[in-house]
């Protein structure tokens, strides 16, 4: 295996790990779609998919084959470059942020010292994809959806970023590896305890950022029938869905990393060393399950109520809690 040693050198190491992460992101989306349908099934007194493979587990595979073989239809008057570029503009940022998340001790593709800034900057590009999709499709419904999506995603970035600051202040670093290391030693050291209001604000904002119920106004299937993605079909639609679901997984992963200790085990004696990615996986899956639970239980807010909640409740709350955090850090 001597000849494979070049893989440990840059840029090959980065290219290889980026490939692996991209592959995992796409798979994650497929698995999440499957999980979502199963969770929805059990919440709604039915079984969910159970025909393809054992207990329906091969359903994502069948879905992917179906989506690949479907014709890709674009509206006659669509702005084709923008229309086709939108799914890519939505998917790439989501895949890119996975690069800075530590899965296990030492297992991180790029240990940036500004990883949190990277996360904030790159996820905000996702709003661009939504605007592109809505504008490029040239349809009233998708335009409304895109405007809603843009307003919502940009507004909720403010509480999202503000709620990160508490963690940054406590850690004194913007590196996600440092954030995780600072939470070692048991679940009582995880930031969701000392930063509980921020954890809630971050959770709500990440629901809004990923356009999940109760903040799924850009899709709003009962009034604007799918919103910005209404004109997409086949693989372009699949890519948008993959971006949505991978974005949901990403937000769950970031929540885990920042507030639930990342790969840190809940109790010190449960430390599995390199296999601590199991803890990361369990916590992320739990957060994703709560996303789905909310999705299938709650109705949707209206645009003005959404803005009220973001600007009049969440932002002041985070500002107050930042002052409290700063004061507490001065005292202790």
């Amino acid at each position: 295996m001597e000849f494979l040693n070049f893989l440990n050198q840059e840029p090959w190491r980065f290219i290889l790990s980026f490939g692996v992460v991209l592959f995992l992101t796409l798979n994650l989306a497929a698995i999440l779609v499957m999980g979502e349908r199963k969770v929805a099934g059990y919440i709604q007194l039915r079984y969910g998919p159970n025909r393809v493979g054992p207990r329906g587990l091969l359903q994502p595979l069948a879905d992917i084959i179906k989506l690949f073989t479907k014709e890709n239809i674009s509206p006659g008057k669509a702005d084709l470059w923008i229309f086709l570029g939108a799914p890519i503009a939505m998917f790439i940022p989501v895949a890119a942020v996975w690069l800075v998340i530590p899965f296990a001790p030492g297992a991180v593709v790029a240990d940036l010292n500004v990883a949190i800034l990277f996360f904030v900057a790159v996820t905000s590009v996702g709003a661009l994809g939504v605007i592109m999709a809505g504008y490029g499709s040239r349809s009233n419904f998708s335009l409304l959806g895109a405007l809603r999506g843009a307003a919502q995603m940009i507004s909720y970035e403010v509480p999202l970023i503000l709620s990160l600051l508490g963690v940054v202040m406590l850690t004194g670093s913007l590196s996600l590896v440092d954030v995780v290391n600072a939470q070692g030693g048991g679940f009582w050291n995880w930031y969701f305890i000392v930063q509980f209001p921020m954890f809630i604000v971050f959770y709500i904002s990440s629901l809004a950022e990923t356009k999940r119920v109760p903040f799924d106004l850009p899709e709003g299937e009962s009034e604007i029938v799918g919103g910005y993605m209404i004109e997409y079909s086949g693989m372009t639609w699949a890519l948008i869905q993959a971006a949505e679901f991978a974005g949901m997984g990403l937000m769950a992963g970031i929540t885990t990393t920042l507030f639930l200790g990342g790969w840190q085990p809940p109790l010190p004696f449960l430390d599995f060393g390199q296999f601590n990615w199991i803890w990361f996986g369990i916590k992320t899956a739990l957060i994703m399950f709560t996303f789905q639970w909310i999705r299938w239980s709650l109705p949707r807010l209206r645009m003005d109520q959404l803005m009220d909640l973001g600007w009049k409740v969440l932002v002041p709350l985070t500002l107050v809690w930042l002052v409290i955090t700063a004061g507490a850090m001065l005292v202790f």
């Binding site: 709604q44 799924d216 709003g220 299937e221 009962s222 299938w296 709650l298 807010l301 209206r302 109520q305």
Partner: protein, 394 residues
């Protein structure tokens, strides 16, 4: 989560949002234009085939014109060309979510022409069927309202109940949807043995399930309250002018129910309350529907208790040839007042049949009430009147 002041703000009447956005001077100063939007007829939330022509200013609806006719089947004309008994199965196709009431209205109108006297058991069976149908229509309509607000799950819980009620209706009538059970002069067949005990047993279970699975889940939900309180608000005068009947009318505080005010069948022998509410918005009509579910359960229990023995069909002769004149029948369907006017010219088919369908009349409400609301508020307002495509298009 949301401030009390915000929740109480009536979007439609004080119109802060719409006034701000829709002021012509602001629009002309900035060169703003409104957007025309076509909602439907192929739209998942349009309760069938309805097209709304909307004029939008941002998210605010400035004009809302419903366009009907996509499911028109000339029901009234067909009814002129069929013999009287043969029209009953056609009425099933009107409001296909509450067919029994359609049959009941038509049958009442023809019996009014014939001055028919019905055996008491037939009347009690009719009331039993009507109230079962009302349950099977009200419970899903609460689910539809939630579906339109974006919550997908309640509709499936609601349809579980409708499914079980439909099993009873199937056992009694032999059909799942197009029953053709009411006949001029009675009902098709007697109840199958043991069905009353089964219904009674089911109602015991329903009372618990309805409270926990629907009422408790929905009523207290913060988002539900924010989305429905103050939305679609109308005054009693407005509602009466438009001709709204049923739960939306009673939600404005008007105490009007055909079952009590113009009793038909044996409703005057039964004890029940007419549920009203003062708010006049979507939340009020929801509360009225919840209340009516409890009242229907109460009525069915009384019917089961009082069910007399005897024949279920009056002998009106082989061929129905009513004298010349008018026949009129009105019933309280789950959506409001369903009335049938039959004009006879002495032959064996009607000269003219007219159906007054609550879905059709309440639909005017969209034009009056929706402007000034936000686009997503159209859906709960549709859920408030809960129209059925087959009803408004006939």
């Amino acid at each position: 989560m949301l401030s009390e002041e915000r929740r109480n703000e009536t979007v439609a009447l004080d119109g802060t949002a719409s006034e701000r956005l829709a002021r012509p001077d602001i629009r002309s100063e900035f060169g703003l234009e409104t957007m025309d939007m076509n909602m439907g007829p192929q739209h998942p939330a349009m309760h069938g085939l309805l097209r709304l022509i909307l004029e939008l200013d941002g998210e605010t609806v400035m004009r809302c014109d419903p366009v009907m006719g996509y499911l028109h089947r000339s029901q009234e004309k067909i009814a002129e060309n069929r013999m009287y008994p043969a029209v009953v199965p056609m009425t099933d196709r009107l409001d296909y979510f509450a067919n029994i009431h359609n049959e009941h209205g038509y049958v009442l109108a023809v019996e009014d022409l014939l001055d028919a006297e019905l055996p008491p058991r037939a009347e009690y069976i009719r009331v039993l069927m009507s109230e079962l149908m009302r349950l099977a229509s009200h419970i899903p309509s609460i689910g539809f309202l939630m579906l339109e607000l974006g919550a997908f799950t309640p509709i499936l819980y609601a349809f579980r109940e409708r499914e079980r009620i439909q099993n009873f209706l199937e056992a009694i009538t032999g059909a799942r949807m197009m029953f053709h059970y009411f006949r001029i002069g009675g009902v098709k067949a007697d109840l199958p043995p043991g069905i009353l005990e089964e219904i009674s047993e089911y109602l015991d279970g329903l009372e618990g399930r309805f409270q926990t699975d629907t009422v408790d889940l929905v009523t207290g939900s913060e988002i539900y309250v924010a989305r429905t309180k103050g939305v679609g608000r109308m005054t009693p005068e407005q509602a009466l002018d438009i001709g709204v009947t049923g739960p939306p009318l009673r939600g404005t505080g008007v105490d009007f129910d055909i079952r009590r005010d113009y009793p038909y069948s044996v409703y005057n022998e039964l004890d029940f309350n007419v549920v009203t509410d003062d708010a006049g918005d979507v939340a009020a009509s929801y509360r009225v529907r919840i209340g009516e579910v409890w009242q229907s359960i109460r009525i069915i229990r009384q019917v089961i208790e009082k069910m007399p023995e005897g024949p279920v069909m009056a002998d009106l002769g082989r061929r129905l040839r009513p004298k010349e004149g008018d026949g009129f029948g009105r019933v309280e369907s789950p959506r409001g007042e369903y009335a049938v006017h039959v004009v006879s010219d002495g032959s064996d088919s009607a000269y003219r049949v007219h159906y007054r369908d609550p879905s059709f009349c309440s639909m005017q409400l969209l034009q009056e009430v929706v402007p000034g609301h936000y686009l997503p508020d159209i859906m709960p307002i549709m859920g408030m009147i809960d129209p059925v495509s087959g009803g408004w298009d006939k």
